[in-house]
């Protein structure tokens, strides 16, 4: 709470000083003149996606030894082989839709990346990744909400969550708009009816904390309704799971590029906990990856020019075991691959030091080791991408002292 008050105080009193610093140092965007606004979309794959089958280390004999039925074959070796990325790694063939982005160098991966905390509990690992403080649950707010505190104040739709409930990563003192999935997106509320609204308007016209919250909440709702009205006419189908990115991609794109001026969006997609029958080029994981690849590709298309100012991160709480288990699946592991897409991204490259998969090279003898803290991958997206000053990084990620930043942007 004290920290929060400090931040509020800092933003209220230090606007000019901080603003000047910003104008001087900001690499890509100046807050005032260009009219361009940096955007960040974070996609969390809840349940731990099997990163070793997303970005396949096909030069590793250990990979094929450990996964007799799940491994993806080397590029060029028949139908359903991995798609060559850089001569060392290959992409799961279900993600073929992303290859154009790779070739235009707008897609990068960070392999062997993740949260340093050893937990293998989904619940703990997701919390840590959302709080941005591995090993410590005391942090009262999520790191994306803390990012907001360092952006110039915007409209009430500046930060958007796709879903009903504000997730941990976005919870905190800054306000966040929630947009429900599918056809519920703008479900009519009693408050939409003019006589009801005008009565409550009078009830909440005061300049109190509550009055301001009411006015802002209503404003956010109006913006979302106006922006999505045309799209709603086309009656979307609400599909859960990763294909919801396809369904909702257009909405997100519209809010990012339109009057809602959304700068931060968060989506979580479930279903990645493939303990059983994970499949290889076909099967469960492939069926999840396919719509995700298509959805990302479509999101890029819908964003149009706004994609130039957008960075998209895809991450997951931890990776899965190197070896497949007795049920044709993989169990909870450690290191994973983190995906970065965007107009400013220095893509076409797999980042991160590769630790190898020999048993002695693995984490606790079983999992892909972590050589890049996920915060080291996100830090440059915040500084260079979003224009946050490096010295404020320790407020977004308290207690973290940056490793050398990856030149992702």
């Amino acid at each position: 709470m004290r920290r929060r008050q400090f931040l509020q105080y800092a933003t209220a009193s230090g606007v000019t000083a901080m603003g000047l610093g910003w104008l001087g140092k900001q690499p890509v965007y100046s807050q005032s003149s260009s009219g361009r606004q940096p955007k960040l979309i974070v996609i969390l794959l809840r349940g731990a996606v099997d990163g070793l089958n997303v970005v396949v280390p096909y030069r590793e004999a250990g990979y094929y030894d450990a996964r007799p039925t799940l491994a993806i074959s080397k590029p060029g070796e028949g139908k359903g082989a991995a798609l060559n990325l850089d001569g060392q790694f290959g992409l799961h063939p279900a993600l073929a839709d992303l290859m154009p982005l790779w070739q235009s160098k707008q897609l990068a991966f960070v392999q062997a990346c993740g949260s340093p905390d050893p937990t293998r509990s989904h619940f703990d690992a997701q919390d840590y990744m959302e709080l941005g403080t591995p090993g410590n649950k005391k942090q009262g707010d999520g790191w994306l909400n803390r990012v907001l505190a360092h952006l110039p104040a915007g409209r009430p739709t500046q930060a958007l969550n796709l879903g009903n409930q504000t997730p941990l990563i976005l919870s905190g003192s800054k306000s966040v708009a929630n947009l429900a999935f599918g056809r519920q997106a703008i479900r009519p509320l009693p408050l939409d009816r003019p006589p009801i609204q005008s009565a409550f308007d009078r009830l909440y016209e005061g300049d109190t904390n509550l009055g301001r919250a009411y006015q802002e909440g209503l404003e956010a709702r109006e913006i979302l309704k106006a922006e999505l009205n045309t799209e709603m006419m086309k009656a979307s189908r609400g599909a859960p799971g990763p294909s919801s990115l396809k369904t909702n991609g257009r909405r997100i794109a519209q809010l990012l590029s339109g009057n809602a001026e959304t700068q931060i969006a968060f989506v979580s997609l479930g279903g990645w906990d493939t303990h059983v029958n994970q499949g290889s080029t076909q099967g469960r994981l492939a069926r999840l990856l396919k719509p995700l690849g298509q959805g990302l590709n479509q999101l890029k298309a819908e964003l149009g020019n706004t994609f130039d100012d957008t960075t998209i991160v895809v991450m997951s709480e931890f990776g899965r075991t190197v070896a497949e288990n007795g049920n044709g699946g993989t169990d909870h592991g450690h290191g994973n691959v983190l995906w970065v897409l965007g107009g400013q991204v220095q893509g076409g490259k797999v980042y991160g030091e590769w630790p190898g998969l020999a048993e002695s090279q693995r984490y606790q003898g079983r999992d892909l080791a972590i050589t890049t803290d996920f915060r080291a991958a996100i830090a440059p997206l915040l500084t260079k991408g979003m224009g946050i000053e490096s010295k404020h990084l320790n407020q977004v990620f308290p207690g973290y002292s940056s490793q050398k930043a990856l030149p992702l942007i």
């Binding site: 709470m1 929060r4 509990s121 619940f123 919390d127 649950k137 005391k138 009262g140 009430p156 009903n164 409930q165 504000t166 919870s171 003192s173 306000s175 966040v176 708009a177 929630n178 509320l189 009693p190 408050l191 006589p195 009801i196 009565a199 409550f200 009078r202 009830l203 909440y204 005061g206 109190t208 904390n209 509550l210 009055g211 919250a213 009411y214 006015q215 802002e216 909440g217 209503l218 404003e219 956010a220 709702r221």
Partner: protein, 491 residues
């Protein structure tokens, strides 16, 4: 004042009398003596989850002091526990009868039908626990007891999101929280420390002395999780003056405090097991005091030290004052409560008595200043309308939507009760929409909330502005405006 004509002045005076509290809290200076009704609304707001039909009249009849005494000495549990049979089972019975486990190696695999059935069955204890909690919160006459159950559950939080804890949240509340909410803090601390829900949730069941005879598999090393939260959250508080070394000592003291394992799980009656073979019997130092190696007794000694430590008294008093008085509680009050805590060996009822008698609790500047959590708001609305038909499942669903799912706070510090944690634009719009829907009635028979009884139940709590908006609105909107008013968002 002289320029007011007599008549206008009288009207003005009446308004001041009725709404004096609200004028005071906005201008910050006393206007007139607090109205008696405001005192009653205040005490009901804080000792209960909001007034239900007849409450104001009851407090008027018996007086505020007797009402407080009544609430501090609850009558017998009014809930028909027979309707929730899983609340009467022990943790081990719950695990054996409702736990979802895959058959062991060599056993035949379950068909998908059987799996589905087992999974469905495994959800029963959680559902019954949630329903029982909400029914009690909405309709128990022992409201302060329900307030304190919620308070202490949050203080000693466990989350149904973590594995087996889901089966046990109800029995945890029933066995380790409810019996002690007005009792001795040491008893409450001890009951939570040995409850399987806590042992599992904060991992102490795995806490093992490295290289001890019983150390193997995942029971190989020290696990500090519970020991740390025990000091930081449950007793001394983060600034309580202990060091990392003390955390490690406490963890060593608590090695071997665990759960039945392996075959034991099929037969054990008691869910708490002390495994001497995994215990660290070395001599430890905790807060500068030596603790001799003596098995399970060390843990009890540790809890004794913690339960009566001045830092604990201060920490608990702060939290109570924050819940009952203000987000930033007056330090003098906190000190007085802490003294009472120490003088009575942590008698919770005595500390609460001191609190309710205090000048600070009764100071009108704090009336109506605590922002309700979603839980408090929803329960208050259900109570205000006196609807026996409010379905717990609807409330539970709404709580989820408001990001406060019952029994599912994932972090060990529980849900906060401060305005900064819960007031935001999204939630405000949702609350108002819900209030409007609620006032109109829902379900198959849409019977709108009756206006006159609602007015009587809520009493004179509205500011002049709110009252004039309500009075100036069509009659069919007034109940919605009352339930969705700023005054209903605060207690």
């Amino acid at each position: 004042m002289a320029k007011f004509s007599g008549k206008i002045f009288n009207v003005f005076l009446c308004l001041m009398l009725v709404f004096g509290i609200w004028m005071r809290s906005t201008t910050g200076e006393p206007v007139l003596a607090a109205s008696v009704e405001a005192d009653r609304v205040h005490v009901i707001n804080r000792l209960s989850f909001g007034s239900s039909p007849g409450d104001l009249q009851h407090v008027q009849a018996v007086g505020i002091d007797d009402y407080i005494q009544e609430q501090l000495s609850p009558r017998r549990d009014s809930l028909e526990l027979k309707q929730y049979p899983t609340l009467l089972l022990t943790p081990m019975q719950l695990e054996r009868q409702y736990g979802f486990r895959r058959p062991g190696k060599g056993k035949p695999k379950l068909s998908s039908q059987e799996r589905k059935q087992r999974r469905r069955r495994s959800r029963i204890p959680f559902r019954e626990a949630s329903e029982a909690r909400l029914v009690r919160a909405i309709s128990s006459p022992n409201q302060l007891e329900e307030v304190m159950v919620n308070f202490w559950f949050n203080h000693f939080n466990v989350s149904a999101k973590k594995g087996r804890t889901r089966l046990w949240v109800g029995v945890y509340e029933q066995e380790a929280i409810r019996p002690y909410v007005f009792g001795s803090f040491r008893d409450l601390l001890g009951a939570t420390a040995q409850h399987p829900a806590m042992l599992f949730y904060l991992d102490n069941w795995q806490n093992t002395a490295p290289n001890s005879p019983g150390a193997r598999g995942r029971f190989k090393g020290l696990n500090e999780n519970y020991a740390r939260e025990l000091l930081e959250l449950h007793t001394m508080g983060v600034k309580g003056g202990y060091s990392q070394t003390d955390v490690v000592s406490a963890a060593k003291v608590l090695t071997g405090w665990g759960l039945p394992r392996g075959r034991q799980r099929l037969h054990a009656k008691q869910a708490f097991v002390f495994d001497a073979r995994r215990h660290d019997n070395s001599r430890k130092t905790f807060l500068g005091q030596p603790i001799q190696g003596q098995g399970i007794a060390e843990g009890e000694a540790l809890l004794d030290i913690l339960a009566t430590h001045p830092a604990t008294a201060q920490h608990i008093s702060y939290k109570l004052a924050q819940y009952f008085v203000a987000d930033t509680p007056p330090p003098a009050l906190v000190d007085r409560l802490a003294q009472r805590f120490l003088a009575t060996d942590g008698n919770i009822r005595s500390v609460l008595e001191t609190l309710f008698e205090s000048e600070e609790f009764n100071d009108p500047q704090y009336y109506g200043q605590k922002f309700k959590t979603p839980y408090e708001y929803l329960i208050a609305m259900a109570r205000a309308t006196g609807r026996p038909t409010v379905k717990p499942r609807l409330v539970a669903g709404a709580l989820r939507q408001f990001s406060m799912p019952l029994y599912e706070c994932q972090t060990p510090n529980g849900y906060a009760n401060t305005e900064s944690a819960w007031l935001n634009p999204d939630t405000t719009i949702r609350r108002i929409s819900l209030a409007t829907a609620f006032a109109r009635g829902y379900g198959r028979q849409k019977t709108p909330v009756q206006l006159d009884p609602l007015e009587q139940t809520l009493g004179n709590r509205f500011s002049a502005q709110t009252q004039s908006v309500i009075d100036g609105s069509p009659r069919n909107l007034r109940a919605a405006l009352m339930l969705g008013s700023p005054e209903m968002m605060y207690r």
